[in-house]
Amino acid sequence: LSVPPEEQQPEYVYRRIHPHGWNARKNRPKESAFLARPDAGLSVFRADSRSPRQVLQHGIDVAKQMLASPDEEARRRGEKQLSDFGDTVERWVKNGWRVVRIPISAFTERGFTLDDPDAEGHQNVYGQYVLHSVDLVDIAEVLTEEECLA
């Protein structure tokens, strides 16, 4: 029996790339964009439940939530994010934020594990980031500004 076409579709995740993680010279992410803290996962979003625009909007929402924090330092950091990059997806893209698309298999084939996505399609990837960051830079498909804004 042949596999139904929809089950043959590769699965992807999106990763939001901060301007400091973007290599403008080569139009690709920097290796540092894939180096999570040792005690944390790499933050990604399921491509079948979130659009690139929603992935960027999620970052803006996080910054806005920080404004409501009881912690003064967190409020200041939230204000700085919105001051530096704006409060719309259009401004974030204009100010250098990007989104890349990565096949889930690129992680699993290298021994990474993914936790279950939450209601927003967000999940964390755990594995040998340092060893594989160079490969992930090459594998990541860079979305155009238009694709990020669609």
Binding site: H18, H20, G21, N23, K30, A36, R37, V134, D135
Partner: protein, 132 residues
């Protein structure tokens, strides 16, 4: 007669040093994923490596390509050195003043990770830059 080493360092590495210094001003959580501020010691070690590679590349007549500089979420600095077919990632870490994590990658070969001294990292960077 050997050439004076430090005096040769000029503008081609200054941009790298400026970018490293710029990252030391980042706040905690600059990436909205819980990043730590860049550690002063990690930044200084990255700057030292960049200057060493610059000077030694001149002495050995290795072609120069400006490394890609990036802040790392744990407070380190990553420098990526790339030649035609080789790439080396060097990472300085907070609290590790003498050691760097490195990944070297040659076209069509799997990446190899190792921990090295700053001199070892410099040799790896030159290996990448000299790659045909």
């Amino acid at each position: 007669m050997s050439k004076p080493v430090i005096a040769q360092s000029d503008s081609r590495v200054k941009e790298v040093l400026r970018e490293i210094e710029e990252y030391t001003a980042l706040d905690a959580d600059w990436d909205l994923e819980g990043a730590q501020p860049v550690d002063r010691g990690a930044a200084d070690l990255a700057a030292r490596l960049a200057e060493l590679v610059d000077v030694n590349a001149r002495q050995r007549e290795v072609p120069w390509q400006t490394p890609v500089v990036g802040p790392v979420a744990d407070g380190g600095i990553a420098l990526t050195w790339e030649g035609t077919n080789r790439r080396v990632l060097t990472i300085t870490r907070p609290g590790q003043p003498l050691a760097l994590e490195c990944v070297r990658k040659e076209a069509n070969s799997p990446p190899v990770q190792q921990t090295v001294s700053v001199d070892g990292a410099m040799e790896l960077a030159l290996w990448a830059l000299s790659g045909e």
